[in-house]
């Protein structure tokens, strides 16, 4: 096990499990994905964040060739997904956005046999363990499964063949808190046992906060940032400031909100190099009382549109 991780830490991460160039997708007049250059290093856990409709699920579907891009290229392990759709999908464990496992007439057990036959790497011992851990009732009909039941089945099918790439679209959606926690624990164990790259989208950043080592943020179809997680946290700080009565914000500094009235004490999250930001604030006459770094979720929020104020 440790060898897998050792290699992951030692090997200069120069290869990408996923890379796209100029990936673009339109639905009618609407641009769902706009010239996206995604780079997901092999062995990383990459969390793709964004508001609803920012293009996260579209990006994942294009990677698996479940939908066609209007322009641009997507590669998974060096394979062009458009030309090698089936080969790409064979190497990917995918939990789709939709809670729909298809084959409504089959029992879970029948579907699992069907899926196991499709993947040469299917690990039945592991599958049995997951069936227990995820409490999957094998004799239930797929058509009668609840949203949460379907999610568990989808997770099992994605993990049990230990694919080199996991693509998880809101993997804990529809699950109760106990099962959510269990799924994330299973994922941590999975990563310790198998060399895997993970691409995950979620609205619950805090859930995957400690698993993620890379973060990408989509905003209205554009990838506005993709960085190692520590770098994201380094570039965002929260400043507590005392402002003089007559104060104007430095022109080249993006502050979250204009100062209202005669407020003297403010707390702002600002993107930029800490020293440069502090210097600019100080020259402008503000007194920087405190600078704190933020947890991943709050750092990421600095890049997401605040829907309340738009």
């Amino acid at each position: 096990m440790s060898n897998v991780l050792d290699r992951a830490l030692d090997g200069a991460v120069s290869t990408y499990a996923v890379s796209t160039q100029g990936l673009t997708k339109r639905y009618g007049d609407e641009v769902a994905l706009n010239a996206v250059d995604l780079r997901i290093p092999e062995g990383s856990v990459f969390v793709l964040l964004g508001a609803n409709g920012a293009g996260k699920s579209t990006a994942l579907k294009l990677l698996l060739n479940l939908e066609r891009a209007d322009s641009g290229v997507a590669e998974v392990f060096g394979l062009d997904t458009r030309r090698h759709g089936p080969r790409v999908r064979a190497q990917v464990g995918y939990v789709p956005e939709r809670h729909d496992a298809g084959y409504r007439w089959m029992t879970c057990d029948r579907l699992l046999k069907h899926v196991a036959a499709y993947y040469p790497a299917w690990d039945q011992t592991y599958a049995d363990r997951l069936i227990g851990a995820l409490e999957i009732r094998r004799n239930r009909k797929i058509g009668g499964l609840s949203k949460g039941d379907t999610r568990r089945l989808q997770l099992l099918m994605a993990l049990a063949h230990r694919p080199p790439l996991l693509v998880l679209d809101e993997p804990t959606d529809g699950l109760d808190p106990v099962v959510r926690k269990r799924v994330l624990t299973l994922l941590a164990e999975h990563l310790a046992d198998s060399p895997t790259t993970v691409l995950i989208t979620t609205h619950h950043i805090h859930e995957v906060e400690n698993l993620a080592d890379h973060v990408g943020i989509l905003r209205a179809g554009r990838l506005v940032i993709q960085v190692p997680r520590e770098e994201l946290q380094r570039t965002v700080r929260r400043y507590r400031l005392d402002l003089p009565d007559q104060w104007e914000a430095p022109r080249d500094l993006v502050i979250p909100a204009p100062r209202s009235g005669r407020v003297r004490e403010v707390q702002w999250t600002i993107v930029g190099d800490e020293r440069a930001v502090t210097e600019r604030l100080t020259t402008s006459g503000a007194r920087v009382r405190e600078v704190v770094s933020l947890p991943l979720e709050e750092a990421a929020l600095a890049f997401l549109p605040d829907e309340g104020t738009r």
Binding site: L5, A8, L9, N210, Q233, R289
Partner: protein, 139 residues
């Protein structure tokens, strides 16, 4: 050893894990030659990326706090002296947190000292007044 990580803490996770191992050494819940949890166990328990745990263990290995026995796991080094550097590191971290909190509330250093002494003295007084539960069987 109990390892706690704080999602509100913006320090990198591997540093938090390193500090928790140091803390366990200082309070004595981890002693020389004790095994530490495997990377998989700790990753699973904390729901963190196993690479983060490995990174923390690697750093502690480099510092001579932990060592790996091939095929057996990771152990606390025999010559680790928790009383020295580790204690100092922990103390400095506590001091930094106290100072930050004081500044946030507009307190100066001397004021903070005075208050800490006052609170500690009060607690001592309370302890003296309270009936000692261990007193009856002392010699």
């Amino acid at each position: 050893m109990v390892v706690n990580i704080d999602p509100r803490d913006a320090r990198p996770l591997y540093l938090q894990i390193m500090d928790e191992v140091r803390r366990a050494l200082v309070v004595g819940s981890l002693k020389p030659e004790d095994p530490v949890p495997s990377v998989r166990e700790l990753a699973s328990e904390l729901v963190v990326n196993p690479r983060t745990v490995l990174q923390a263990y690697r750093e502690l290995e480099r510092e001579g706090v932990l060592y790996v026995r091939r095929g057996l796991g990771t152990f606390v080094a025999l010559n680790t002296q928790p009383a020295g550097d580790e204690r100092r590191e922990l103390g400095l971290a506590v001091a930094r947190r106290a100072l930050l909190e004081a500044r946030r509330n507009g307190l100066g250093l001397e004021e903070l000292f005075t208050m800490i002494r006052e609170v500690a003295a009060d607690e001592n007084d309370l302890a003296a007044e309270a009936p000692l539960t261990t007193g009856s069987n002392s010699t």
